[in-house]
C-alpha cells in the first residue's frame, strides 16, 4: 500500500520538479529494480550476493554495444540485455550456488571481479576504461521522446512498477515460500523433499535476469557504459540498499535505493569521501536496525 502510494506520489510531483531532482528520481526507480532483484537472493533466499553488478553491467554493456554499433532498437536491446544477464547468472550460478554464507559472498565477489576485468581489459569490445559513450535512448514511437527527462522518468517508473509487481507475485507464490523456507533451514527443506540446490539456482538466475533489466534501463538513462557500472562498489551499494531498506520485503530495498541515491548525490557535493559515509551508514544499520528501516518501523514481531 505504501509502495503504491509512493509510486503515485512520485508520478504526481514529477512534472513540477526541476531536471536535477527528476534525474535523481529516475536513478531511484532504476536502482530500486536492481535492489529488489538482489533482495530475492538476500532477503528471501538468504544468499548474500556481492557480485550483483555483474548482471547489471553485462546487460548495460550489451545495450551500449548494440545501440551504438548496430543501432539496435528498444526490443532488441531489452531482450538481448536481459537474456545476456540471465545467461551470465545461469553460468555463474553453477559455480556460486555450491557455497553458502561467507563463501557464497566471496565467490560472487570473485565472479563479479571477473566481469569487471573483462569490461576493463577487453578493449576491442568494451572500449576499456574509456567506456561506451553516446548510447541513444530507444524510440518507442510515442508522442513524447524519451530523450527528455520527464518522459524517461515515467518510462523508468513504469518499468519499476512492472518489476515490483512481477517480483511481488513471485515472492507471494509457492515458489517464493520455498525460497523463504531455504533461508530458514536448508536441512529441513532437504528432509521434506526439496532439491535445495535447484531452487537456489532458479532464484539466482531470476534475480540475475531482473538485475539485467535494471542494467538495460541504466544504459539508456546514463547514455554511457563504463567499468564503473560493473565494479565492486556498485555491488556493495546495491547490497546496502537492501540491508538499509529491509531485506525480505520489496518496498524496503526500493526505499533503500532512494536513500542511497539521494545521499550519494548530496554528500558528494560536499566531499569526495562518499565511500566513508557509505561505510558509516552500513555500520549504523547493522547496529541499530538489523532488519532495515522498514523492519524497524514495523511493529516488533517478538
Amino acid at each position: 500500500m505504501i509502495g503504491v502510494g509512493a509510486l503515485v506520489a512520485a508520478a504526481a510531483v514529477a512534472p513540477t520538479l526541476p531536471s536535477y531532482p527528476l534525474t535523481l528520481l529516475t536513478q531511484v526507480a532504476i536502482m530500486a529494480i536492481l535492489a529488489m532483484s538482489l533482495d530475492i537472493l538476500l532477503g528471501y533466499t538468504g544468499l548474500p550476493s556481492l557480485g550483483h553488478a555483474a548482471y547489471f553491467g553485462t546487460a548495460a554493456y550489451a545495450v551500449g554495444i548494440l545501440a551504438t554499433e548496430r543501432q539496435a532498437g528498444f526490443l532488441t536491446c531489452l531482450v538481448a540485455g536481459v537474456l545476456l544477464a540471465t545467461a551470465a547468472a545461469a553460468l555463474f550460478g553453477l559455480v556460486a550456488i555450491r557455497a553458502t554464507g561467507t563463501y557464497f559472498l566471496m565467490i560472487t565477489l570473485a565472479l563479479g571481479m571477473v566481469v569487471w576485468g573483462l569490461a576493463f581489459r577487453w578493449v576491442s569490445l568494451t572500449k576499456g576504461d574509456n567506456g561506451i559513450a553516446g548510447v541513444p535512448r530507444p524510440d518507442l514511437a510515442l508522442p513524447w521522446s524519451l530523450a527528455a527527462p520527464l518522459p524517461f522518468f515515467y518510462f523508468a517508473l513504469v518499468a519499476a512498477a512492472l518489476a515490483w509487481a512481477a517480483l511481488g507475485t513471485l515472492a507471494r507464490s509457492p515458489f517464493g515460500l520455498t525460497l523463504q523456507g531455504i533461508r530458514e533451514s536448508e536441512t529441513r527443506m532437504r528432509a521434506l523433499g526439496y532439491d535445495v540446490w535447484l531452487h537456489k539456482y532458479l532464484a539466482f538466475v531470476i534475480s540475475g535476469g531482473f538485475a539485467g533489466f535494471a542494467g538495460v534501463l541504466w544504459a539508456w538513462y546514463n547514455g554511457f557504459v563504463s567499468p564503473v557500472d560493473v565494479q565492486l562498489v556498485t555491488s556493495v551499494e546495491t547490497l546496502l540498499m537492501v540491508a538499509l531498506g529491509g531485506p525480505g520485503t520489496l518496498a524496503g530495498p526500493a526505499l533503500g535505493a532512494a536513500v542511497i541515491v539521494f545521499l550519494k548525490n548530496f554528500v558528494s557535493v560536499y566531499t569526495k569521501r562518499w565511500l566513508l559515509i557509505l561505510g558509516a551508514v552500513y555500520i549504523g544499520v547493522i547496529l541499530f536496525a538489523p532488519r532495515g528501516v522498514l523492519g524497524a518501523l514495523r511493529a516488533p514481531r517478538r
Binding site: 507464490s173 509457492p174 523456507g181 530458514e184 533451514s185 529441513r188 527443506m189 528432509a191 521434506l192 514481531r301
Partner: protein, 227 residues
C-alpha cells in the same frame, strides 16, 4: 557406524535405543541421506538408495524429525505446514499465482495442524511457540508429506512429563500403515510406541528383538538400563 545391519518391515514400529554417542542420530542421518555413506548399502522400499540425495529419498516416502527442532522460525505455523505439504507436489515451482489462493494446499496444511493439535496456532510465528508446541509442529511437518517411513529423532526431547505423555498419545494415533523408526531416551515412550527394539552401542548393534527380550538381555541391562 560399524557393521550395523537393520531391516525394518513395512508397517513395523521399531525403537532405536542406546546411550549417548551410540550412533542413533548418525544412523538416521545415513538413512535419510543427510550424511554420505562410506561403506555398506541402504535400501528403501526395495530400492538401493545408498547414493541417492535426501530430497529424492523424501520423494520416495521417507521423512524424519529432528532431535533439536528444525523449523522455519520466522514463518507462520501455517506456512511451515504449507512448505511441508507442497514439498512433494509440482506446485512448489509455481511462481505466478499467489500461495494464499491455493485452497487445497491450505486445507491439507490445516488438516495436518489439527492432527498434531496446533489448529488454533496456525497464524502464530513459529519462534513464538512454546517448546512443546514446536515439538508438535516438528511431527506435523514430517506427517504433512504423508510418509511411508517416518524417522522420529527423540520426539520428547526437552518435554515435561505431561507433555511427553501427550506426545506419546499423539504418536499412538499415527496411521498404522506408516512404518516408524523412533529414537527415544525415555524408555516408557519408546516401548509404548514400538514393540520391536534395537540397541546400539558405540556404533554397533548389541541387541535386537522384542521389548521383553531386549529388557532381559544381560549386556543391555549392563550398559544401558544400568540395572
Amino acid at each position: 557406524m560399524d557393521d550395523v545391519e537393520l531391516a525394518v518391515r513395512p508397517g513395523e514400529r521399531r525403537a532405536l535405543i542406546g546411550p549417548n554417542g551410540a550412533g542413533k542420530t548418525t544412523l538416521f542421518n545415513l538413512v535419510a541421506g543427510a550424511l554420505p555413506v562410506t561403506a555398506g548399502r541402504i535400501e528403501l522400499f526395495g530400492r538401493d538408495v545408498t547414493r541417492m540425495p535426501s530430497h529424492r529419498r523424501a520423494a520416495l516416502g521417507l521423512t524424519r524429525t529432528f532431535q533439536i527442532s528444525n523449523l522455519f522460525a520466522s514463518l507462520s505455523v501455517l506456512d511451515n505446514c504449507r512448505l511441508a505439504v507442497q514439498a512433494l507436489t509440482a506446485a512448489k515451482f509455481a511462481m505466478h499465482r499467489p500461495l494464499a489462493r491455493d485452497a487445497v494446499l491450505r486445507a491439507r496444511a490445516e488438516e495436518t495442524l489439527a492432527a498434531v493439535g496446533l489448529a488454533d496456532r496456525a497464524a502464530a510465528t513459529v519462534r513464538n511457540l512454546s517448546h512443546g508446541e514446536q515439538r508438535q509442529l516438528e511431527i506435523g511437518l514430517a506427517l504433512a508429506g504423508r510418509p511411508r517411513l517416518l524417522l522420529l529423532d527423540e520426539p520428547t526431547a526437552g518435554l515435561s512429563p505431561a507433555e511427553s505423555a501427550a506426545m506419546a498419545r499423539l504418536l499412538g494415533r499415527l496411521d498404522p500403515a506408516i512404518t516408524v523408526l523412533i529414537i527415544e531416551h525415555d524408555m516408557d515412550i519408546a516401548l509404548e510406541v514400538a514393540r520391536h527394539v534395537t540397541v546400539l552401542h558405540y556404533g554397533r548393534v548389541i541387541a535386537d528383538g522384542t521389548r521383553d527380550a531386549v529388557r532381559a538381555d544381560p549386556t543391555v541391562r549392563e550398559i544401558y538400563l544400568g540395572a
